[in-house]
């Protein structure tokens, strides 16, 4: 039987539906999450099965409903908060950073906040500076939060189910350009543990550590490199916290050259952190300094040729990898 394929959006929806089916405590808060199924239509059809009691349409009050989810999580529900665009998490930041992330620790372990905040990242949708950012580094910085960055439909389903079952606040970033991406997704129940990286493609000459949207870019670059006899390994941490340092270091030591690709800003960002982990843990095995590639240090512009220039592409990654391997090959 051929493998069943789903889009990334369908995989997210299936994970939510399955968790809602087997756990009545799971409910979804957000703007236009019920009948509208969100502007991205990720939640379409859920309200028909679970009703407006569990798909809770809210006013445009990100701080308000995120705060309510924190309190509801502490007192017996397992809320999933939908923040339409990742850019809008700024409005809910106090609730996540000062409240959700700290409550378990501050209370000496007495209160728990088992909630998920789902939101989006990624540029190139021609949405300009306030609808295109990738702000996952902000949350990855905060002890008490877990941060998940699925890169395939398979991972989206398994990681989201793990996030909902987790006892901690988890922030789950979906690349909005990836919603239509198709891939194999088993119909059965499976969860992917948070904190386990996956080698998406095995190789020997260079490692591309890539997250979220950049995994597809890295895989495309690896194909281009293969034609030039450079064998690239692509490894996806899948969660920025917990971070599977061991798997990243093992790959770095194996190939001795690493580019870290992440769609957030490199400056003080996820790519920088992973590069530092590699520098600390694999320095003597490296043949070249670790390179970071991410969004340019500009607000994301609207004009297509400008916007396209801000994110790494298969071609730019390929060129960077070739330059890094040049002396060796």
């Amino acid at each position: 039987m051929p493998e069943r394929e789903l889009t990334f959006a369908q995989a997210v929806r299936e994970a939510l539906a399955e968790e809602m089916r087997h756990d009545p405590r799971v409910c979804i808060f957000g703007e236009d999450v019920a009948e509208a199924g969100t502007p991205f239509k990720v939640l379409s059809g859920l309200v028909e099965e679970f009703g407006p009691e569990r798909l809770i349409d809210t006013p445009i009050s990100e701080a308000g409903f995120t705060g309510i989810a924190v309190g509801a999580a502490m007192t017996g529900l397992r809320p999933v908060v939908d923040i339409m665009f990742g850019d809008f998490v700024t409005l809910a930041m106090d609730q996540m950073v000062n409240q959700a992330a700290k409550i378990h620790y501050m209370s000496g372990g007495h209160w728990r906040v088992p909630m998920v905040l789902r939101t989006t990242l990624g540029a190139t949708r021609r949405s300009a500076a306030q609808h295109s950012q990738s702000l996952h580094a902000w949350f990855s910085h905060i002890p008490g939060l877990k941060v998940v960055l699925p890169s395939t439909p398979y991972d989206a389903k398994g990681l989201l189910k793990a996030a909902i079952r987790d006892e901690n606040p988890v922030v789950f970033f979906e690349d909005k350009m990836m919603y239509k991406l198709k891939g194999p997704v088993p119909a059965e129940d499976y969860a992917i543990p948070l904190g386990v990286a996956e080698v998406k493609r095995s190789g020997d000459d260079i490692t591309l550590v890539a997250t979220s949207s950049m995994v597809q870019v890295a895989l495309g670059a690896a194909n281009l490199l293969e034609k030039q006899s450079i064998s690239a390994e692509v490894i996806d941490p899948r969660t920025t916290w917990p971070l599977d340092e061991a798997a990243i270091l093992a790959s770095a030591k194996k190939t001795s050259r690493v580019i870290v690709l992440d769609e957030g800003y490199g400056r003080y960002g996820v790519a920088s952190e992973i590069a530092a982990v590699i520098a600390e843990g694999a320095f003597y095995d490296l043949d070249a300094p670790v390179k970071r590639m991410g969004a340019m240090q500009v607000p994301i512009p609207f004009s297509p040729p400008l916007e396209d220039a801000t994110v790494p592409t298969e071609e730019t990654v390929c060129a960077a990898a070739r330059a890094m391997c040049k002396h060796q090959l």
Binding site: S61, A63, G64, I68, G71, L77, Q95, H104, M106, G108
Partner: protein, 334 residues
């Protein structure tokens, strides 16, 4: 604007009334004497950091919590010791927390501004002004969804009226008819600024704009507070929607224990007036005696017992060990 006043003859049987009001007296005295010890610990440099004393505002926490059940929820503030005690926390573990000891409510990780206690429904004190409005509203959401009959009370100072999230959650609470009571403790000052300099319009008008049942009460009158809170809590519990209670009150000390010279923002005469004319404990003592519920000796005895309790609690906390440093990395994740 309606001001609720207490009506002790409002149809309750006298015997249980007497117990209730004596208990309320005891609770207020315990809070006052707890704070006295906190100030002492600070002055003698025995307490790390600062604390915000609740002295002068006791009738608000006690009046509201006397209208609650043990399993009901509260959220508290940086000025939270009174809320915790009124909801049933025990002073020894509170002092231990204030001193950063392992026996504290948060194993020493929270301190004065973060005391939390699931056993008494205390979701935690919050050091972000307005930081718990979402949490309390969310607890009310869960209570309604789970049908467990609980109510959530959100205590905050009038300074939190400046936070937009309050208006977001009041809107939601009313739309969803959540069993939540917002208690605005108006002690006149946002830190060092009189609230009239920061607050346009009226306080109740803000809650009423969302259709909340809103009342102002004399926050120095524990019976008035309790009656008003009971009415709003009962409605909320019955599914009739959220309430908003403004309690007019006064903090006797500085914004925190180190705020000693205060004349640049409020006068000594003003402080004197509240302490001598409007003291919630004295006012309630007079009432208890006038009603024949207590005499001076029995009230003095309550204070003696409360003082002894607090002294013992401080001793316990002083003698308690600090957490071992390996605990610093515990509890980051559940």
């Amino acid at each position: 604007m309606t001001t609720a006043t207490s009506n002790p003859q409002a149809g309750r049987d006298r015997a249980s009334d007497k117990q209730l009001w004596i208990h309320a007296y005891r609770q207020m005295v315990r809070i006052r004497l707890f704070e006295e010890q906190v100030n002492e610990l600070y002055t003698r440099a025995l307490m790390p950091g600062l604390a915000h004393l609740y002295s002068g505002e006791e009738a608000v926490a006690v009046g509201v919590c006397e209208a609650l059940r043990l399993e009901d929820y509260i959220t508290s503030t940086h000025r939270g010791h009174g809320h915790c005690l009124a909801k049933g926390a025990s002073p020894d573990r509170m002092f231990a927390e204030l001193l950063g000891k392992e026996a504290g409510y948060c194993r020493g990780k929270g301190g004065s501004m973060h005391i939390a206690d699931p056993a008494t429904g205390n979701l935690g004190a919050n050091a972000i002004v307005g930081g718990s409005v979402g949490i309390a509203t969310g607890a009310a959401f869960a209570a309604k969804r789970l049908g467990n009959g609980r109510v959530a009370v959100c205590f905050f100072g009038e300074g939190a009226l400046g936070q937009g999230s309050l208006y977001e959650v009041m809107n939601l609470a009313q739309l969803w008819k959540l069993p939540v009571l917002y208690v605005c403790e108006n002690n006149l000052y946002n830190e060092y600024t009189h609230y009239t300099e920061t607050t346009a319009g009226t306080i109740l008008g803000r809650a009423r704009a969302f259709g909340l049942e809103a009342t102002v009460v004399d926050g120095q009158d524990v019976r008035a507070v309790r009656d008003a809170a009971l009415r709003l809590v009962t409605r909320a519990r019955a599914g009739e929607g959220p309430g908003f209670l403004e309690a007019d009150t006064y903090r006797y000390s500085g914004h925190h224990v180190g705020d000693i010279n205060r004349e640049y923002y409020r006068s000594k005469q003003e402080e004197h007036y509240w302490k001598s004319e409007r003291d919630p404990i004295q006012l309630h003592a007079h009432w208890l005696m006038k009603q024949g519920c207590a005499d001076r000796d029995s009230l003095d005895q309550i204070a003696v017992e409360a003082r002894a309790e607090m002294v013992e609690a401080v001793k316990f906390a002083m003698a308690a060990p600090y957490p071992s440093t390996h605990q610093v990395e515990e509890d980051v994740y559940a």
